[in-house]
Symmetry: C2
Subunit: 143 residues, 2 copies
Amino acid sequence: MTTEHTAESLAKTLRGAIIRFSRRVRQARPVGDLTFSQLSALTSLQLAGALTPRELADVERVQPPTMTKIVGKLEERGLVARTPHPTDGRQVILAATDEGRAVYASHERARNEWLAVQLDQLSPEERDTLARAAEILQRVARA
Amino acid sequence: MTTEHTAESLAKTLRGAIIRFSRRVRQARPVGDLTFSQLSALTSLQLAGALTPRELADVERVQPPTMTKIVGKLEERGLVARTPHPTDGRQVILAATDEGRAVYASHERARNEWLAVQLDQLSPEERDTLARAAEILQRVARA
DNA sequence: CATGCTCATTAGCTAGGCTAAGTATCGTGA
DNA sequence: TCACGATACTTAGCCTAGCTAATGAGCATG
């Protein structure tokens, strides 16, 4: 059964749900672990293999100076390396280091633990709903 | 058709979708408008009628000092009023002022405009998926 | 009525986001 | 070829949002 949802009331509900959900997930972070934003950037980098700061900023939907900061933190910890672009002296290539990949994998597991436990308690149908919602949200975010 | 979604892979996908979506919605904020957090707090206050700071912090899933700050901003703008608790001198009652309600309504509309337009372009089924996902996310956030 | 708990706030910190401005490099048209 | 506009990244400076720890005020109870 498909209830009628106006775009306006849905917008309000969705915003509320997402801000609270984000905060809840943020709270589940172990101390010393990568932050939400850092982990997201590192994930995007690994999925893509290597990206320029501009490209990474676009993927992550932030402005370039913001990405400079986030990458700076990751670089301090030796998780990401900057290498010069082979032909264009202005650009920089970002890639995860070996340590970055290793730390990523373990932190990712720990980071997801709480969430995975919660999701595991849902029905398969509910998980499916969330998976489809995630796809839709990605699409809307790209607009 | 219901594809199989493991809790782990879903956790990763969901987190990525939500962080990007949040950032995108945040970017759509007109200058001088209420922030994401301020609007969310004001919404919760209006829905509940009146709350103590502690209650509001719980609803919004933040720590009390964080809520003190957010409420402080709203109070500066005359949108929320603090009144003493009738019997317990420690507590405070927070409620939206008349101006708060008026400003809320217009800002809410403006704030949702971008999002509502995006949602309006989705199919009814997709909106339904998002509505059900919002309900699930609320539930998980409460856990 | 003293002591311990709860509520709210203050203080101080970090991260994350933005815009504006600066710097280096590229590419192109005269 | 070289001056100039465009592009890529960073720096500087600002604000919000979040946290923990500590403070102060009021309640409640032995």
